[in-house]
Symmetry: D2
Subunit: 149 residues, 4 copies
């Protein structure tokens, strides 16, 4: 099974994009900073898929990234196409952790792994708030569309 097929089998949200020349730094590899933009692209698509932007408009509760981590396994270079997989790793009352795998088509391998911890935040009062139940349910439904190893 290709690395991409394995990703699609196990991550419910996949964003596919080209590595662009300008993503590389003077070592002629994709710069470490850029991977966090890749993660952000995956994360935002995950939020869009569960309709968080509409829920945020209705409840005033949105996500704040509290911490994030990347482990660089293999360097990416231009030209290449990558698939950014995003899935839920753990959910608590007022926070959850998501996981990213970035698969390179040129390498047919996972290039980078990452995680992000998101806190449920009520912007008007500046306080943490429990995740809306509707949102948690949508995440469960989305996650049920793929297999977990």
């Amino acid at each position: 099974m290709s690395a991409k097929d394995e990703l699609v089998r196990t991550f419910p949200v996949i964003v596919t994009q080209a590595v662009v020349w300008g993503d590389m730094d003077s070592y002629q590899h994709v710069n470490n900073v850029v991977y966090f933009r890749y993660f952000e692209n995956g994360r935002l698509e995950y939020f869009r898929r569960i309709g968080w932007f509409e829920i945020e408009e209705a409840t005033g509760i949105g996500p704040i990234l509290a911490s994030t981590h990347a482990r660089f396994r293999r360097p990416l270079t231009y030209p290449d196409t990558i698939h950014i997989g995003t899935r839920l790793l753990e959910m608590k009352d007022d926070r959850f952790t998501i996981e990213h795998n970035i698969v390179s088509e040129a390498l047919d391998d996972v290039a980078t792994e990452g995680q992000g911890m998101l806190v449920s935040f009520h912007y008007a009062t500046g306080k943490k708030m429990p995740l809306p139940e509707e949102l948690k349910e949508r995440m469960r439904v989305l996650e049920a569309t793929v297999q977990r190893n």
Copy 2:
């Protein structure tokens, strides 16, 4: 006279910053895109100096960048310190053009020249508006602090 002294003599607003390693691309020069961030840094400091942010809050009228241009004379590399000069080139009723020169300390020379055309915009109605008189006066006062060749 050093290139920096010449810049200070002729541009009323100077932003000084380090070229960082990550500004370079895989040709090991500062990437062309980054120069427009340098220009933006200079432009925003110019706006801050004339108090446009307060005027925008009071009048709802703010700047929109309508067009911009860069001419790359000499490539920048890390490590270096640059001085971004910004000055008014031409003012009309509802728009004005600013000019940037970026001086490299390592080269003791102007590395890049640029321009930006800004339109006076009323965000609430989505329409062009004449520049507030107060703002035009402040720009004249600021520009009078330097010599023009």
Copy 3:
């Protein structure tokens, strides 16, 4: 005819990509700097299509961006998909000018127009050099695949 169809009819090289959330700045529009990365993506694809990277390896002659310009007609926002068209505007012995149009699917319109002037440069000697004939011929062939108004 849609703005995209018009673009495809008149520009030989089209790069299609998603506007990502992080392309926006605090005015909640795509930041002006990002458009030059879009242009770069189009430019690099144009160079890839005419095989300049191979020619550069064989001859040591590559492109240097000498100047660039953007005119912002309509702001882009996330989410959207854009089509970046690139075509030759003018060719001289040791330089040429390319033109970009960025079409937004959400707006069905040209959001931004740009140009870039590229100089033919021999890196080892640090001097301008005439464009390799093979390259000029490939550009002519590529340009002949579309109509020009």
Copy 4:
């Protein structure tokens, strides 16, 4: 003691820079991706201070970022000035971990904490290599210039 003074007391390498307007995203806070560029600026200055670039030229052994982490404690906004502290956390034969604290002048507080794990890498052979002894000694000397709690 100010947060900056505490940073200077405990981190041997400090990079000071302005938060620029373009560092913010559409939530009007500095975007999460940008913090990793701040860390990179600190890391590169640390490497410059121990002369790794010269050692890399002599030995062919350079650093590769294997993993990195950020914990976002308080959001940064423009305008502000930040101090990026970098220090050694742990050193092994062929790798070491560095730690970053970013102090905001406006907040008089640590805004972000981060870590990076660097592997000693011989580029020509593509293999991990022990850290050059000279480099380890220089790191010890540099670290001895500050107090550790």
